[in-house]
Amino acid sequence: MTEVVTGMLILVGAILMFLAGLGITRMPDLFLRMSATTKVATLGLGAVMLAVVIYFDDLVATSHAVATILFVFLSAPVAAHIIGRAAYFSKVPLWEGTVTDQLRGHYDIKTHQLESIEFPDLEQHLPDVEMRRFSLSATSPVAGQTLAQIDLRRRYDVTVLAIRRKAEVLSNPDGDEHLCPDDELIIMGLPEKLDKVGAVFR
């Protein structure tokens, strides 16, 4: 009976770890590869270590195996998080089929602080309105156009409050302002309108 259980656990663990190897070669970008390796390999290792516990059935081997499981289960998510974070900041390209990048515009390029723009007073007085930061990618169709040409106010019902270009901040930009790639735009509007406007800057 223990033979069968041990065998099953080794089989499951080995197959999962093989799938992790398959995932790291076959997945299209770093972040998808990480989701294959971190989760699957850790689970596979857990199964193998459980097999070790059942097979040896003594205190020393069990404590070693349990310590390894605990340590790997604690350290693997931390390691994956910091390497993913470093990769995102060093602009490792996302897969071209990526639908949404929720971190985009939510971190400070210089300090690497993650943040959302918060205006507590505004929220109190205008509960429905939101401000959001968008960054303009070089491939966006509106890069190089003026604000008047893009006409966000009429087309999307939102207002550009300010543009941050490298170190300088242009507040209340007028319609003649040209948008450059890597500009950050602070835009105010209803959440559902802001969701739509994000596509323009990608």
Binding site: I10, G21, R33, M49, Y55, V72, A79, G84, R85
Partner: protein, 89 residues
């Protein structure tokens, strides 16, 4: 050779070895530095698995010491690499 040891030698070792080779392909191909770090991390995890099944195949629980040490070192290595990549930007 028991059933379990046969399973380790004829199923687990080949599967894990192929996985290490696949991870090594990613280590060589990259393309970015984080890709290589993730590949190294996976190779370390697979090595821990190989050590564990090898301990079963040879009936040597002493080898499990190695698994813990390798887990510690690979975590430190990944943290150091991530710190370096983030500072480099």
């Amino acid at each position: 050779m028991t059933l379990v040891q046969g399973l380790v030698v004829f199923v687990a070792f080949p599967l894990l070895t192929i996985a290490v080779i696949l991870a090594f392909v990613r280590l060589v191909r990259g393309p970015s530095l984080p890709d290589r770090v993730v590949a190294l991390d996976l190779i370390a995890t697979l090595m821990i698995g190989i050590i564990a099944v090898y301990a079963i195949a040879t009936d040597e629980p002493v080898l499990l010491d190695l698994a813990i040490v390798l887990a510690l070192i690979s975590f430190l290595g990944t943290v150091a690499f991530a710190y370096y990549i983030e500072r480099r930007v």
